[in-house]
């Protein structure tokens, strides 16, 4: 791809120039707008579960069918949410991060060589 690099980017020689460029700002914004809320979400969900397990014994020990308790469903729910967030993030990052990050990397490494 480096052969298609635009020749007009002579100013893009330092990391600081890249850092303030609109393309990079957009990549950083996109990354943070995904991972920060997602981190908040799973931490809230995890600590909600921890607090319920710790302080709401009556609620958690209710049976929902056979010997399956609410606590067990909540616990398995943590597994499901962890697997789901992993899949969602990997899919999202493969599609929305890699192409732009790669393009910028080639641009920078090309300039440096």
């Amino acid at each position: 791809m480096s052969d298609t690099r635009p020749t007009g980017d002579q100013g893009l020689t330092t990391y600081r120039d890249v850092q303030v460029s609109p393309d990079f700002s957009e990549l950083r914004r996109r990354f943070r707008r995904f991972v920060f809320p997602m981190t908040g979400l799973f931490l809230v969900w995890y600590f909600l579960y921890v607090l319920l397990a710790d302080y709401a014994h009556d609620f958690m020990s209710q049976k929902v069918g056979g010997n399956i308790t609410v606590a067990l469903l909540f616990g398995l729910g943590q597994f499901v949410s962890t697997f789901a967030i992993t899949m969602i993030y990997v899919r999202w990052a493969d599609r929305r991060l890699d192409a732009d990050a790669d393009r910028m990397r080639r641009l920078i490494e090309g300039e440096h060589e």
């Binding site: 890249v18 997602m38 799973f42 397990a53 020990s61 056979g66 010997n67 606590a71 790669d102 920078i108």
Partner: protein, 548 residues
């Protein structure tokens, strides 16, 4: 809780010869692979990072191999068998923690560093002091984790080989240590990684077979299995199925549980031996795939341990487990014996041994890399050392660490494994994670902030542990026996009420990182910060794979 391994009774189940034979097979096979893998160990990147040539899936399996220690296999299965649901809470914390690594740490770290955690932390701050601090905390975490694994080896020996004399156990700990040193010296990161991969595959297959076997006994009816576990546990009864059996007793134990939950979820992404594994892949995309694979394998494995724990309660019964040498840790091996006799017990025992061996090897290479690359190469020699010299120091360090681990393991034989592991997680969450996050995401962060956070977090964790009931003054109300490290009930110097320090030390370390930063007049190194930020997100200038 503290000295179950000194019980003078030998195991009367299983056949030690079978156990030893299967284990010897594992050692011979892995050593052969390690020798093969070592042929291409030429550069520092080969020795420290396996040439960065592992694929995401390979590294993901190796991460699972590194992470699923004997404490999580034997420990969690045993905790579920005895304390029911409260044992399950551990595995949930250990698993959810991986999302921190996936979303915030793995890829950025891979793009920024070379070999160690300190590479990233010192990237844009004052090199020598920050590197030194990061290396000290790396060595601290590795030391506690190593001690836990070696102490576990002693307990396992008592149970599986029928060796109940202290001298015999010490000899086996020494043998484990020597095999592990061989892996690291000969194979470097490449050899160690292959040992992790083989071990992870064996562990998951072994646990998977046992899980299916247990479920088949109850016609794949989970509710039926839980009912049988309750029937076999008259003391706990229905409480086995909901939280509170272990942590629900008083307000203090409830708070202790929150503290533990915090340390578990924030500890993983600060464990240096886990972080170092991200350097063994060629790119951040592969680092992402590694974590994704690791999460699936670790998650599925913990689901297995849920079935195995309740299965052990239903089929073996808590009384038989508590009476066995090794107590709770013997739940999974006893279950294996009940299901598949001597042969399955032998296989599961060998897998448990392999687990200890592989985890110890991973910790040793992490600690020796950190010493050689950070302390020797960058702090003492100020970077004026060639890679060969550094790797030579790393090999010597591995020998020293191996010796320390053997001695420490012999000394710690009989200590509570779960406590030592929880301590390692608490140090990682307090001393490492705040600095990692600040340096990746907070522009203003500076050297004083890093030093205060690392040293403050490390000191707070160790001091609070030293003055906690874990070390002295915890007495079983029923039997009057000590539950602390110091078993003399007359000695009691604890003033911190909780077993786990996380709820105090983690917020404190974050606070110190902020406070140190805002009180320091050190200007932000804008060029280095720009380089770090651009590198971390785009991978520009990141270390490439080695091609032979």
């Amino acid at each position: 809780m503290s000295t179950p391994l000194l019980l003078p009774q030998a195991t009367d189940i299983g056949n030690p010869t079978v156990n030893v034979a299967i284990f010897a097979l594992f050692v011979v096979a892995t050593l052969a692979i390690v020798f093969r893998a070592s042929r291409n160990n030429r550069t520092a990147a080969d020795f420290y990072a396996g040439g960065r040539n592992f694929t995401g899936p390979q590294n993901g399996i190796a991460i699972a191999g590194d992470y699923l220690s004997a404490a999580s296999f034997l420990g969690i299965a045993g905790a579920i068998a005895i304390n029911g649901y409260d044992g399950f809470l551990y595995s949930i914390g250990f698993l959810v923690a991986w999302l921190v690594a996936l979303l915030l740490v793995a890829e950025l770290l891979r793009n920024t560093g070379r070999f160690t955690m300190a590479d990233v932390l010192s990237f844009r701050l004052k090199q020598r002091p920050v590197r030194m601090a990061a290396a000290i905390s790396t060595l601290g975490v590795c030391f506690f984790y190593l001690l836990a694994q070696m102490a576990g080896a002693g307990g396992l020996v008592a149970l599986l080989l029928g060796i109940d004399s202290r001298a015999g156990q010490s000899l086996v700990i020494a043998v484990v240590g020597i095999i592990m040193i061989t892996y690291v010296l000969v194979g470097g990161m490449k050899g160690t990684t292959w040992v992790q991969i083989i071990k992870a595959v064996l562990l998951v297959i072994g646990a998977g077979i046992m899980t299916l076997w247990v479920l088949a006994k109850y016609t794949f009816n989970l509710s039926g299995l839980l009912g049988a576990a309750v029937d076999k546990s008259p003391a706990a009864g229905e409480k086995l199925l909901s939280p509170g059996l272990q942590y629900g007793l008083t307000g203090v134990t409830k708070l202790d549980f929150i503290s533990l939950a915090l340390a578990l979820v924030l500890g993983t992404a600060g464990l240096p031996h886990v972080l170092m594994r991200f350097y063994t892949v060629p790119s951040s995309k592969e680092a992402r795939r590694s974590v994704s694979w690791a999460i699936w394998i670790i998650g599925i494995f913990y689901l297995f341990t849920l079935v195995l724990g309740y299965g052990a309660a239903a089929i073996v019964g808590p009384d038989a487990i508590k009476a066995a040498p090794g107590k709770a840790n013997s739940a999974a091996p006893l279950l294996a014996f009940e299901l598949g006799g001597e042969l399955l017990l032998g296989v599961i025992s060998a897998v448990a041994f392999a687990t200890i061996l592989a985890v110890v090897a991973g910790l040793t290479i992490t600690a020796s890399t950190s010493f050689a690359h950070d302390i020797y190469g960058q702090v003492i020699k100020k970077g004026q050392v060639n890679a060969d010299g550094e790797v030579r120091v790393a090999r010597i360090t591995a020998l020293v660490i191996g010796a320390v681990a053997i001695l420490g393991g012999i000394f710690a034989n009989g200590q509570n494994i779960a406590f030592l592991v929880a301590l390692a997680f608490a140090v990682a969450a307090s001393a490492n994670l705040p600095t990692i996050l600040y340096s990746l995401f907070w522009r203003r962060f500076n050297t004083r902030g890093a030093l205060w956070s690392i040293y403050g977090g490390l000191a707070a964790t160790i001091i609070l542990i030293a003055f906690s009931p874990v070390v002295s003054g915890k007495v079983d109300a029923k039997t009057g026996k000590s539950l602390s490290m110091i078993t003399d009930t007359g000695i009691d110097f604890h003033w911190f009420p909780l077993d786990n320090p996380g709820i105090v030390s983690i917020p404190l370390a974050f606070l110190l990182g902020w406070l140190g930063t805002v009180t320091s007049k050190e200007p932000v190194d804008v060029d280095k910060f720009a380089e770090m930020e651009v590198r971390s997100l785009t991978g520009a200038g990141a270390e490439k794979a080695v091609h032979h």
